[in-house]
Symmetry: C2
Subunit: 304 residues, 2 copies
DNA sequence: TGTTTAGCATTAGATTTTCTTATCAAGGTT
DNA sequence: AACCTTGATAAGAAAATCTAATGCTAAACA
């Protein structure tokens, strides 16, 4: 049983253009019999003559013409495949699905997105904001390409690359501004407002503040940093906030922000991906851009 | 240097669908290593990973997805090639460029065209009406596929297949109706109207009528049979007309038609094509249809 | 926490395909 | 009629591709 091969189509195209077996063969860098045989096999496979051979001329048959149109389309598509590859090879390109935790996304993305466009113009970033466990799941399912989360994850099969560190600031109501900053470890006894369960930032904050219970505490859990800050502004308690979010959130409520002294709480933000992903190299490139964007966002947050 | 092959694309497609090397290999009726190697080579050629392999899953990379769309298009086109061939193989189809001499075309085509459509629905006939030498030239240049001409041509490299014979009738002015029909050989001395130079029918008529001079004779050469008949109707002389044209032309002028007695002039009409044409078999099929149409046209012409 | 299993990669040797070289045959040309 | 030109064919060489056997890694299991 015979099969059409691309080689045959390439030879066919050359013969169509040169109308001469010898010259077409030269153009293909093979000998004339090699080309003759392949053309013959193509004709056998198709069951019809593609060329009319006479001593003087080699000409397409009318069937050959019909085939020729399709063949040049096919060959063009094949060559485009390599082009697509070359373009993609140049750097990150195409669709990239990035997960980001909610305590980073709103503060990082405004800086990151324009930077990404500048660094990888052919990259279409699709951002998904949700909590770490879900991000990990989607990463493992192949629904995300990578994610920006707090390290360490220590998930099997997931590669982690640290991007930057950010500290946590204390958010108190405005009237507490200037009063001494309590030690982090002491916060557990205060009216500490936390994100609702599932947010990694909740766990991180709790760890620092030596809060034991992970029970939901009515009225003290917020669904976003904004909510928490608003609650603090309303005098309900105090909370921690990642450095990066500080400036944005502080503007929106009557609160005071303080750095901790002594043991400073903080976390490491990193880029993670499946160990098996062939994009690893590209992710390292990407990390540079995210890192820069992150540090920029931190700087901006600093200048409040 | 590596090259993309259709085999690689077929394996790629299978792997994309099965997301499993072993099963994809089964589907392609090869062993798993064979498929693995080809996929790897395709990735090497393109310079980028198409699939992400983990212990659990085989998944397209985002680059792989881009490639996949194009690849299925390509494979579809390839399969269509065979379809095109199968359709064409069934019989005459596609464009067919047919030359016809002017003393046949107007009388044969009205019958032939509908018959052709009936016999070969997928055939698109393109008819070119001009004189024999030009038809032969165009045939040899590959600008025509075949031609309907008077035989014999005796051109090197041209195959001839007789279709039917037609006799020539004498056309005289109406008032000569009933008067004895002269012998063909005697016509040379009459006011014999002929087609202008280049028409084979002119030469055929001259041969029968023993006219020697092939010089243009002012006022006695017409550019078409219609013109000649009109001239006869106007009483300018007499002429010969092929049987097939008789009825159509007789209707348009006050003339009388007579059959010759004794040596009856006539000619053989045949289909001709380049000996090298791979369509020879199809032309023989085609000849049957033309023959039938020709005999029909003759019959009709008869019943005047 | 070691063991097993699943599944892709790798290797070596066999097989098939494709190529080159040499030669033929058919049409034109001189 | 001898001679080119040019495509087809044949035989052996080279290259590509396959199978079979095996390795390796990561997940699943016990």
């Amino acid at each position: 049983m015979l099969n059409i091969t691309l080689k045959q189509l390439r030879y066919f195209e050359a013969l169509r253009l040169h109308e001469h077996f010898g010259r077409a063969a030269d153009a293909c860098a093979v000998t004339q019999p090699a080309l003759s045989v392949q053309i013959k096999e193509l004709e056998q496979t198709l069951g019809l003559a593609l060329f009319e051979r006479s001593a003087r001329h080699v000409r397409l048959t009318s069937f050959g013409e019909t085939v020729a149109e399709r063949v040049s389309d096919i060959l063009r598509s094949i060559d485009e495949l390599s082009d697509v590859a070359r373009a993609a090879e140049a750097g990150l390109s195409g669709r990239l699905r990035v997960g980001i935790i909610p305590t980073i996304a709103p503060y990082l993305l405004p800086t990151l997105i324009p930077n990404l466009r500048g660094a990888f113009p052919d990259l279409e970033g699709q951002f998904r904001e949700t909590q770490t466990p879900r991000l990990v799941q989607e990463l493992q399912d192949g629904r995300l390409d990578c994610a920006i989360v707090a390290l360490p994850l220590l998930e099997a099969g997931i590669e982690e690359l640290p991007l930057f560190e950010e500290t946590f600031l204390l958010v108190r109501s405005e009237r507490e501004a200037g009063t001494p900053v309590p030690r982090v470890e002491a916060l557990g006894r205060e009216n500490l407002l936390l994100l609702e369960d599932g947010h990694c930032f909740r766990d991180q904050a709790m760890a620092f503040c030596k809060v034991q219970s992970s029970e939901p505490r009515e009225g003290l859990d917020g669904s976003s940093l904004s909510t928490l800050v608003q609650m603090v502004g309303a005098g309900i308690g105090m909370t921690l906030i990642p450095e990066m979010a500080a400036r944005v959130e502080a503007r929106a409520a009557p609160i005071s922000l303080s750095r901790f002294e002594g043991r400073v709480p903080g976390r490491s933000i990193g880029l993670v991906w499946r160990k098996t992903s062939p994009l690893a190299d590209q992710f390292r490139e990407l990390a540079q851009v995210i890192k820069t964007a992150g540090l920029d966002a931190l700087d901006e947050a600093e200048c409040q």
